[in-house]
Symmetry: C2
Subunit: 197 residues, 2 copies
Amino acid sequence: MYTPSPFAFDDAEAIAHFVAEHPFAELISSGPSGTLVSHIPMGRVPSGGLCGHLAAENPQAKIADGTPVLAVFRGPHAYVSPNDFVSEFNLPTWNYASVHCHGTIRFITDAELAWERLGEFVEIQEGTTGWKIPDEPRFRALLSAIRIFEIDEARFQGKAKFSQNKSPEDIEAVIEALEARGEADASTLMKRISRSK
Amino acid sequence: MYTPSPFAFDDAEAIAHFVAEHPFAELISSGPSGTLVSHIPMGRVPSGGLCGHLAAENPQAKIADGTPVLAVFRGPHAYVSPNDFVSEFNLPTWNYASVHCHGTIRFITDAELAWERLGEFVEIQEGTTGWKIPDEPRFRALLSAIRIFEIDEARFQGKAKFSQNKSPEDIEAVIEALEARGEADASTLMKRISRSK
């Protein structure tokens, strides 16, 4: 991801927070048949790895262990018009945040381990008090319809492009414009970034 | 994109509408240095093609004309808990919609044509009454900092996975649950899909 320095973040805690807040990712891989992209939730399981799963029927579930993959997490984003700035020499732009994770895929083939990971994975969204997968044969049988994987050698890169290269007056004006257009997620993140400088 | 038939859409008008509503895309390409992904707005310009631009400094702006690319457009999405259904044998899932466009990239190198495309591209977001790029040397000079491209041989594929494989009772229950959690965009799209059947 092309990331000019004002927009880069690589702090491990900030990356982990971003992934936890925006778990719905794209898993991207390339092979002889072209680029494959699946839209799936991913997240760090308590046992440590970045984990996800694919439908067994998905062609991407058939790529080999060790294949390079890229997981893309997306945060809030919003169009910014030149009319949003107080200064007068600007182009339209898009403000956004994203985390990319490059690594290699490893599918979990051991049935007990896969069942354990699935339980951990469910807990990422449901928390400790929400729905738990019942340990019943009909649920265990569903494991054959999915393939659970982890990403090894994970290298994370974060980008948050929210007008940090503009003047404080322009930044405040853009925040106000985003709020006025109901872009609450983008304006909230932009405020957090501009006030943490 | 792996798309079981209940979730597929390929109607040209529906695809065009989706792209216009969700212009902030990912441009994906693969090469010797690995997978490149840029987060950029893309859209169909009045002259016909699917168009976007990259910072000239972005390594992806240096790929060759004719390189296969994939543009991914993302719509609303939301987590669905097994607790959201009225039936009792479900797994957690994620509802979402996306349009993928496979094609090849062609950069516009003619300065006059690039200027014209940039004007058309700005109008996608600003409309006919919004900000227009002034025809001034200082704005024309900005063209050297970007590379405008179109996607040729565009092949579109749409997926909208919003519990269409569930019973009407489950679908209504999920819509209510999404509304209750403030997932307005996802519940609105899910209503539109479930009532158009």
